[in-house]
Symmetry: C2
Subunit: 318 residues, 2 copies
Amino acid sequence: GSATAAQSAAQRQAMLTKPRGSLGRLEELAIFLARWQRGMKPSLDHVDVLIFAGSHGIAARGVSAYPTEVTAQMVANFANGGAAINQLAAIAGANLSVTPLEIDKPTADFTVAPAMNEAEFLAAVTAGMRAVVPGVDLITVGEMGIGNTTVASATAAALFGGSGSSWVGRGSGVDDEGLTRKATAVDTALTFHGNALQDPLEALRLVGGRELAAIFGAVLAARLQGVPVVLDGFVATAAAAPLTRLHPNGLAHALAGHVSAEAQHPRLLKLLNLDPILDLGMRLGEGSGACLAVNILRSAIACHNGMASFAEAGVSEN
Amino acid sequence: GSATAAQSAAQRQAMLTKPRGSLGRLEELAIFLARWQRGMKPSLDHVDVLIFAGSHGIAARGVSAYPTEVTAQMVANFANGGAAINQLAAIAGANLSVTPLEIDKPTADFTVAPAMNEAEFLAAVTAGMRAVVPGVDLITVGEMGIGNTTVASATAAALFGGSGSSWVGRGSGVDDEGLTRKATAVDTALTFHGNALQDPLEALRLVGGRELAAIFGAVLAARLQGVPVVLDGFVATAAAAPLTRLHPNGLAHALAGHVSAEAQHPRLLKLLNLDPILDLGMRLGEGSGACLAVNILRSAIACHNGMASFAEAGVSEN
């Protein structure tokens, strides 16, 4: 990011016709976008809502309320415009881009094997990196993949420690037995992979999934290109989390679009020092909370770019 | 509102391609709009952002960080498109309607006299009622008026009890001495008007202001016409609060667009059982937080009206 651009943006905010700081988070968001877009007046003309879909071997262990075929069915629903994210992207003025990642070929069951071999992992990361196109102003990242809250819990536990039961939640709506199966799956994976999970990228390969690896790749590519990112819920946040293990400021270009109703998302955001923009009890995934936050960002830069200064408007300062 | 419409909307939500309840507050908001618009599929084609401006005798007592001429200057800024609310209304796809209420004629200093006589009060309430035009799908209500957080604190204290110091906050940014002057002004008014403040409408006349009376009128007219309302911050919420004293469900058609950074807004919302949609540390007024929430409502109904059902999309249910 550019400290100079951020400073110019902050100076502009102080001249606009409002008490200083009275737009609260909107002011911070405009300055954040200026920093990462490296200019005083940010733009959101080209916003890409990136959704990655994957299938998971762990789903066979009864960790989801839904059957595994729903992943492909929902990818078709995205293509036909019938899902929540289609409507949300339209309202947010964003382009929806869905990348299915070998969804007819689930990852291995990570309680007994690496979820992905190195070639598979690299292919998924690369697919994510390629989804960030030159000239984009902002990306949001989200996912679809039956079983992937368990994958995210395993990834978070590998990265930050803690037992399976401390990281799992009800996902799309499992009952108490399902919740226990999720915790057991995570604990079994932690034991099976052991010290190999110390390496954050290896953790993502061993207990992650293709859509998580792709999100990691997209967030990394965005950083290399200086593109700000809005993260979605628990799964997307866990997928991006290895970046903070690789570098303490690895997610400095990312915002948390929302805090979801998935049980451990607040904890994960806190560990990453991410303050969510929205808190609306959502737990759908598919990038929905991140996309919703784009409306707030649009409002933030509309004020930042469009408001008159005290001098321009002839308004008295205090 | 229509319980039948709300029920139809809830049934529709249960059929859409997402785990039940996974859109969280967005589902509730869509059902709320269906209830008050009396139809299964709500619309937000015509949204009016209503701003009322007034001047206050109490401002002479040093209760604001800004000089009183700023009210008229900001009304001019609204007309010229330079204020935050102009940008926010454009992003929200809403029409901005600004009603200045005799801003060259401040109310009386309510520590020594009724803020308004009965004719003045009625004129302001009527102006607010008239601002709600036939056929509007939703209104948001906000205000501009140097000194009016003290007015709102006095109104809240009159309606709900408590001392001046328990209801004041820093408004546009007063220092500690200013905060003390605000508390003293409220306490003096409470003593001066005494039992006359027991009547909620009299409270609004005696210690309120023209823009608060107009907001009251607009929220009342909206209820009579079955139009849902989004309230803005502390001042707008205090202005609408007498409706709950007139009838326990008097604000059932209203949403809190946000919780502001003004100190006692959270307390006031709690007393009114209003759960704010956004929490972004804003404290600008001029309807800014309410208008911002319109983007969330648009997203809610876009999902509600536009998503495919499980049957339509061929997605398996759990």
